[in-house]
């Protein structure tokens, strides 16, 4: 039901995975340390996009159908608390949309604030197909309530859910 964002995936996805932007993809990264430098990106062709990271202590594997920017993966690689929650969050949103037969393009990126350069958040972007804007705004309220009521406040502060209409 959900698919990588067609508008955003082309350049970044090529850079990240060296695969055709139209192909289903799988991103993986492995690291024995949490430093940037040790991250090693590789790619494969799979129907279920996923990425995984191995850290000093825990080992996490997250599977999602979202397009994920390199910066977002790096942020997740440095924040095991956020990484451990993000799969549940994206699952919750995907299920919410699927239950309502809504198709969406999904992407995960880093959002910044021009007024506050040191502030950032993991932006979970969903571009909904065939949904009028009034309905979209109500769905957005509902999904936020569903996600945040069961999410650790410290993790909730680090993410932003964004709904828009698919072009």
């Amino acid at each position: 039901m959900l698919s990588p964002h067609p508008m955003q995936e082309s350049e970044s996805l090529k850079e990240l995975t060296n695969v055709s932007p139209l192909s289903p993809y799988r991103n993986t990264f492995n690291s024995t340390q949490t430093t940037n430098e040790s991250l090693n990106f590789s790619s494969d062709y799979y129907f279920t996009p996923s990425f995984s990271g191995m850290f000093c202590a825990p080992y996490w594997t997250v599977t999602t159908s979202a397009f994920i920017t390199r910066e977002a993966i790096l942020l997740l690689s440095r924040d095991s608390t956020l990484l451990s929650s993000i799969a549940h969050v994206t699952d919750t949103i995907e299920n919410f949309l699927t239950e309502r037969n809504i198709e969406a393009f999904q992407s995960i990126s880093i959002g910044t604030d021009p007024e506050m350069p040191e502030w950032n958040a993991l932006v979970l972007q969903y571009d909904l197909k065939n949904t009028d804007y009034s309905t979209l705004l109500l769905l957005w309220d509902d999904v936020c309530k569903k996600v945040y009521e069961e999410l650790d406040p410290e993790v909730a502060r680090k993410i932003a859910i964004s709904f828009d209409q698919a072009e």
């Binding site: 604030d113 021009p114 502030w119 958040a121 705004l137 909730a156 964004s162 828009d164």
Partner: protein, 125 residues
């Protein structure tokens, strides 16, 4: 005291304004529609947490402080909608390479109206 809602009302009023600088007008409208909702939200937060917005390191910090407080108080939807609107505003005010069309303006105004309505429904924080 100035009412931030006037920014939003003005945004809608000037939509029919005739100018050859249409994109500049749209960018201005998006910026004001963001500030209408941000300031309404900020004043709601200030009412319940008057000290939160004092002694900020930077003036611009209030944007994230307001969003974070709303989210911490169970209004994650308003927080995230404010953030999305701030991204429209960021593009409108800072990004000269990305065209700002009527679709962005329409969504920004609708989003701003929605945020204002949600904030006005808050009875306590």
């Amino acid at each position: 005291m100035f009412d931030p809602l006037d920014f939003l009302k003005l945004c809608k009023e000037i939509s029919s304004y005739s100018t050859i600088r249409e994109e500049a007008l749209r960018r201005t409208q998006i910026g004001r529609s963001y500030y209408a909702s941000h300031l309404i939200a900020r004043e709601k937060v200030r009412r319940y947490y008057p000290y939160l917005l004092k002694n900020l390191r930077k003036r611009g910090e209030e944007h994230s402080v307001v969003r974070d407080k709303l989210k911490a108080c169970g209004h994650g939807n308003i927080s995230d909608k404010l953030y999305s609107l701030s991204r429209y505003r960021g593009t409108a005010d800072y990004d000269l390479t990305q065209p700002v069309g009527t679709s962005s303006l329409t969504k920004a105004i609708r989003l701003s109206e929605d945020i204002v309505s949600l904030v006005q429904q808050i009875r306590s924080l």
